[in-house]
Structure formats: C-alpha cells, structure tokens
C-alpha cells in the first residue's frame, strides 16, 4: 500500500508513545547492569601479552555473574582491541569513559599506553585499573596499579643473581619509558649491592639483529646480563645469545621474560638457567592456584595459553574491584575507591593481594623462579611485599588530590639517587 502522510503520522505517534518505555530500560542507571570495560591489545605485536589477559578477565566476570552478580546486578563486560596502537587506546578510552559511561575500566599493557589514557580517565572521573607490571611511580587517586613494581621484584632479583653469578652487570633494555626507567632501577640496585653496572644499552622495539651487542657483552667482562627487553622482536636476543654460546658463560636474568610466554618461544637449551621474578607463576604450589589453573585450562580447552603475572593479575584485579563494590554497596566511583583504600584485599591465585592506601598499589607476594625445560621452577618466595619504590615519592593519604606519574622524567628528577 502507499506510504502517505497519514500512515507516517500514525507510525511515528505510536513510536513516540512507546519511547519512554524503551528509554527507561536503556538508562536504567542504578538498576541495570554494571559496566566493566577492558581495553587490551588482542592483535598486533602486543597480542602475546593481551590475549591471555582478556581470557582471564572474561573468566573472572563470568564467575562473578554466575555467582549472582554484584549487588543483585549483572556485570556487563565490554572488550576493546586497540591493535597495539596508542591512537586506538586514546580513542577507546574516551569511548569507554564518555560514550559507554563505564563503572570501571581495566586497560593498558605498555607504560606508554597507560600514560596516554590515564589523564582521560582522570578527566572523565572513571575508575581506572592498570594490572600490568611496570616501573612504579604512578600517584593517582583515580588509578589503581595492581601489577608488580621494581621494588617488589627487581630489588630481590638483582642481589640474588649477583650473589650467584657475579658483580658486573650488563643491562639491555627496550627503548621506551618502561625500559629506560627499569634500567635506572637496576643500576640503583646493582650499586646498592656493591656491584658495577658496566654498560646499559637500549634497543628500539623492532631490532632483531643483536650481534654487535653480544660482542660488546663479551668484551666488557660482564658476569651477567639483566634484560628488560620487550616484545616479539626482542626474543631474538635470547636465541642469538645462546647461538653464540654465551648463555652458559654469562647468564641472563630478566624483568620481562615470560610475561608474553616467551619461554615457550625458545627451546630448552636456549632458555635453561634464566632467572626471573614476578608476583605470579603458573607453577605456584598452592591449593588456590592449582584450582585457578585447572578452571582456566578447562575453560579454554586445548588452546589455553600459559598463565603468567599479567593474566593472573587481570583476574585478581577484576576480583579486587568486585570486592570493593560489595563492600561499598554501590558501583559509584568514590565509594568504591574509599572501600579499596580501606586496606581491602583478596586471596587470589598468587596469594594475598591487598591495596596499599598511600599509593593505590598492591602489597603482593613475590617469587623468584629459574627456567628449565620451558617452564619455571620457583626458588624463592617473599610474602606481602610493599611497593616501596612508589612509597618513596607518593603519599595519597597526606595529599589525595594527585594524578601524576612521578617517574616521567626519570628517577633522578623524582629525587631518587641511582
């Protein structure tokens, strides 16, 4: 039949009358689902870090929803993929904060991406969790950094390996803010323990030929190498190092190896003997962890990625936030922040993780492990380590209105002697 003005007016009048009912359910506010947004790379070079993190986050949210949700409401998870590009990070961060009006955002893998989006969440007053291990120094009331920091991991790794292998350390690091600042931390801890950081070299993220550096390591007389290399291309360093026969004579310790499951990417002969320190290993021998690993593997099936600190902390970060929502009785930002800062903690797969209120970072267990046959054997463990590096420069109890990254210009500018 023909479409004339009378039919048109009838149809639109009907729609206008029905509109309030539709709009009401969309803008349900306190009575609809709680919005949880995750912005993590699942493609591009950083997908080796991001995909296990997303899998773990999805598992946490599904478990929370199956247990009845939070405060009687379901948690609605939305995952964005910034494709290893900072440009997409800022775009999705604005989308999550202003468009989706998320109740919480868990985002960021590299420190560069974190610093790109942290101001956005500050401006839009959206609660922001950063669950990746990093170089320390974020002092932001709105940002909870749950990952391990150098004072927790590197501060134990350096004296242990120096005792085992020798006092002269050659540092190789990725050439961006994480690598630069971590290298400064390593230099500080080496000197604090009476050692000598013979040389520090930085590598752009796409270097694959490490030959000249390996020659320099040989001629420097170093006893060991400390690596803060990041990404797929830098895996070549470990292979070329072993090909030159160096991994037995000048062993390697690393602050980043393993969190992208790099230990599966190189063979046992190349990797054996490497020592790393993180606040979680899949091989932790506790009932809670064994249960977590079994559930994760059952859920993911044959394609399950290996579990590392990034994935486990994404899971624990989601639960920390969920506990805070329950404690606060609402998903609104300030009550949840206050609940988190009241010393709230959970018993996760890595052990007890609780929030340290002066820094909004976490006290967490730390484990040292040695690589053997493409898996880690835990050799030392430390309980509930505080984030002393950020504590040196940040006190949110005394001065709550801060939203800065204290190590933006290096450790010396922040007043830390290296």
């Amino acid at each position: 039949m023909s479409f004339n003005r009378r039919r048109f007016l009838k149809t639109t009048a009907g729609a206008a009358l029905a509109a309030p009912a539709l709009m009401k359910s969309a803008m349900a506010g306190g009575h609809g689902a709680i919005k949880f947004v995750s912005i993590l790379d699942q493609s591009g070079g950083l997908d080796i870090y991001g995909k296990p993190m997303v899998d773990a986050t999805k598992m946490a949210i599904d478990e929370i929803n199956e247990a009845g949700g939070l405060l009687g409401r379901q948690v609605d998870l939305k995952v964005y993929d910034p494709q290893s590009s900072i440009q997409f990070y800022t775009q999705f961060a604005t989308q999550a904060a202003a468009g989706d009006r998320a109740d919480v955002v868990h985002a960021g893998i590299t420190s560069a991406s974190r610093e790109a989006i942290r101001p956005t969440f500050s401006r839009f007053q959206t609660l922001y969790f950063y669950n990746t291990l990093y170089e320390g120094g974020v002092c932001d009331m709105n940002n909870f950094c749950t990952g391990s920091t150098p004072a927790q991991t590197v501060e134990k790794l350096v004296p242990y390996t120096m005792n085992k292998w020798g006092k002269k350390v050659y540092i190789v690091a990725a050439d961006y803010n994480y690598g630069q600042i971590t290298a400064q931390w390593v230099q500080k801890y080496v000197r604090d323990n009476g050692g000598d950081p013979v040389e520090t070299e930085f590598f752009p993220l796409d270097v694959t030929n490490f030959g000249p550096t390996i020659k320099k390591i040989q001629s420097s007389g170093a006893d060991m190498v400390m690596s803060a290399l990041v990404g797929g291309a830098h895996v070549s360093f470990y292979r070329q190092y072993a090909a030159a026969g160096m991994n037995k004579s000048v062993p390697v310790a690393s602050t980043t190896f393993g969190v992208g499951n790099e230990h599966k990417l190189i063979s046992a002969e190349e990797g054996d003997g490497m020592i790393c320190a993180y606040s979680y290993f899949e091989e932790i021998d506790s009932a809670a962890n064994k249960d977590f690993v079994a559930r994760f593997k059952a859920r993911m099936g044959a394609d399950a990625p290996a579990l590392n600190e990034l994935a486990a902390r994404s899971y624990e970060g989601a639960y920390l936030w969920a506990e805070a929502v329950k404690a606060a009785g609402t998903a609104d930002r300030m009550p949840v922040i206050e609940a988190l800062r009241s010393g709230l903690g959970i018993d996760g797969p890595s052990g007890r993780v609780d929030i340290e209120p002066k820094t909004n970072h976490c006290n967490q267990n730390v484990y040292l492990a040695e690589l053997k046959d493409q898996s880690f054997n835990i050799i030392e463990s430390y309980e509930s380590q505080p984030p002393t590096d950020t504590l040196m420069v940040c006190d949110l109890v005394a001065d709550p209105n801060q939203a800065v990254f204290k190590f933006e210009n290096g450790l010396k500018a922040a007043g830390i002697d290296i």
């Binding site: 493609s43 591009g44 070079g45 997908d47 080796i48 995909k51 050439d175 070299e201 930085f202 590598f203 752009p204 796409d206 270097v207 694959t208 030929n209 490490f210 030959g211 000249p212 550096t213 020659k215 320099k216 040989q218 001629s219 797929g232 291309a233 830098h234 895996v235 070549s236 292979r239 070329q240 072993a242 090909a243 030159a244 026969g245 160096m246 004579s249 992208g260 499951n261 790099e262 599966k264 990417l265 190189i266 063979s267 046992a268 002969e269 190349e270 394609d303 990625p305 493409q374």
Partner: protein, 289 residues
C-alpha cells in the same frame, strides 16, 4: 686482534642478514617492478613452516632448506595467479593490494596458530671460538649460505635458458614477447622463485629470531630500503646496498648502540637515494644483473 676479527665477522653477518632478507624482494622487483609489501609475510610463513614441521618431528635441515622454500614458493604461485598478475604496471595498486595481502596472512596465521607458537628448535650449530671471543657458528653458516645463494642466482641468470629468457624479459618485455616468449609465464615463475627465496630466508632465520605472526612487519622496512637503494639489478643491487647499509649499521651499532645504528642505516639510505634516485645500480654497475 681477536676482537677485530670477531667483530669483522659480526659485521659481515649483518651484511649477509640484510642480503638474505632482501634477495626475494629484489628478484621480484628487478624483474617486474612489483613492490611486494607481503614480502615480510613470506619470510614469516617460511619461519612458521620450519616451526610447525619441526614440532611434528621433521628434521630441521630438511625443513629449512627444502620444505620452507617449497611451501612458500607454492603460496607465491597462488598469490601471483590470483592477485599480482592483474596489477602489472600499476605500482600504487600493487602496493595497496600486497599490503592488504600481508594483513590477510597475519590474520590467517594468528587465527590458525594463535598469537605465539611454542617451538623446540634451537640453532643447529654450536658456538665457534676465536681466541677469547665466541661467535655463533650458525651465523657463519648463514654467511656461507648467502654467498652460495647469490652465486646460484648468478649462474641461473647467466647460464640457463630460463635465465636468458628472464634477462630478456627484464630488459625489454615487449620485444621478448615479439620473439615468442610468454611474458606472463616468466612473471609467474619469477614471482614464485622470489617467494621461494623469501621462504628459504625466513626458514633459515627461524632458529635465531622469534617466530610470531607479525615478525614480517619488522623485516619489510629493511628489505624495502635495501632493494630500492640497490636499484633494478638483482644481484649487484642487493649486494652493493647490503654491503653499504649493513656495514654502516653494524659499525655504528657497535660504536654507539643499536638506536644510532638504526638511525645511521636510515640516514645513509636517505643520502644514497638523494644522490642516486634510481639506486646504486642505476648509476654504477649498470650493465650487470
């Protein structure tokens, strides 16, 4: 003295590495003036062939030297027939199409194999001691392989009928067609051979680099720069550009560190292209292949 010798070998390896990753692209570019932006992905596919084959028990030498070039050569053949052959002479369109192809390959490999694939292979040759310094025996082997490969390509071009026909088509495609040579068949064979060489390069590099779906993105820039700087002659161009750029990169990386090593390589390429826009072999060695 030991250090000097060891360092010289290291720089020679840097040059050989650059030549190895560029040779496949140079063959395709020299013949058909096609810039194949999926070249990095051919390298990646060669690496994946080796990793998957060795994970299933195939001998590593067989996987690297025979299986990788074969598999990637066949993939190159399919790509040429389905995509490239419609785009000869249209340089911008080939750039776009091959870039899209590279994204497709990365996506397929990520979907099939996941973001990272565990491997059991390690460099099949041990370390070599020169005085107080150890060098990677495998890197020395690669230098040797690159030299053999360059000689093989030279002999093929100079002494076989395929080489003769290929050189004729490179010089003047229309005249070659008048003389009865099927230029589309020559292009197909050359593209497949170029892809096979890329597959071989990727397979040989698999034990000493990480094999991930987007490792190709890292190779394409250097290969591209080397081939353009070298100019249209396949062998002389690749060799001269690799020696110059690889040498500068190696020396600067040792003296100042890898960041400035990369900067030096790019800076040299910029100056080279400013002085010689058609590449080194557009100006010198003009009669060579």
């Amino acid at each position: 003295m030991d250090l000097f010798f060891s360092l010289a070998l290291q720089i020679l390896y840097g040059i050989a590495n650059l030549a190895l990753i560029s040779l496949g692209l140079a063959i395709v570019f020299g013949m058909m003036r096609v810039i194949n932006l999926a070249h990095g992905e051919f390298l990646m596919l060669g690496g994946y062939t080796v990793v998957v084959a060795t994970n299933n028990g195939v001998n590593i030498w067989f996987a690297m030297l025979i299986l990788a070039p074969l598999v990637v050569g066949i993939i190159g053949l399919i790509v040429e027939r389905c995509l490239i052959q419609w785009l000869y002479g249209r340089m911008i369109d080939t750039l776009l199409a091959t870039w899209g192809l590279s994204l497709l390959f990365i996506g397929i490999i990520t979907s099939v194999f996941g973001a990272s694939t565990s491997t059991v292979i390690s460099p099949p040759l041990g370390a070599v001691t020169i005085g107080d310094y150890t060098s990677s025996g495998y890197e020395l082997f690669l230098i040797f392989v690159v030299i053999v490969l360059l000689i093989l390509v030279y002999l093929t071009l100079k002494f076989t009928s395929l080489g003769l026909v290929a050189r004729a088509t490179m010089q003047n495609a229309d005249m070659a067609a008048c003389l009865g040579i099927s230029t589309s068949r020559i292009y197909m064979v050359t593209f497949s051979l170029g892809a096979a060489v890329s597959g071989l390069a990727g397979g040989l590099l698999a034990p000493i680099t990480g094999v991930l779906p987007n490792i190709g993105v890292i190779y394409i820039a250097k290969a591209f720069i080397t081939v353009i700087s070298g100019g249209s002659a396949i062998l002389a161009g690749t060799t001269s550009a690799s020696v110059l750029l690889g040498g500068v990169n190696g020396i600067m990386s040792y003296v100042t560190g890898p960041t400035f090593g990369e900067v030096a390589l790019l800076f040299t390429a910029i100056i080279l292209l400013r002085l010689m826009p058609t590449g080194i072999t557009g100006r010198f060695f003009r009669k060579s292949q």
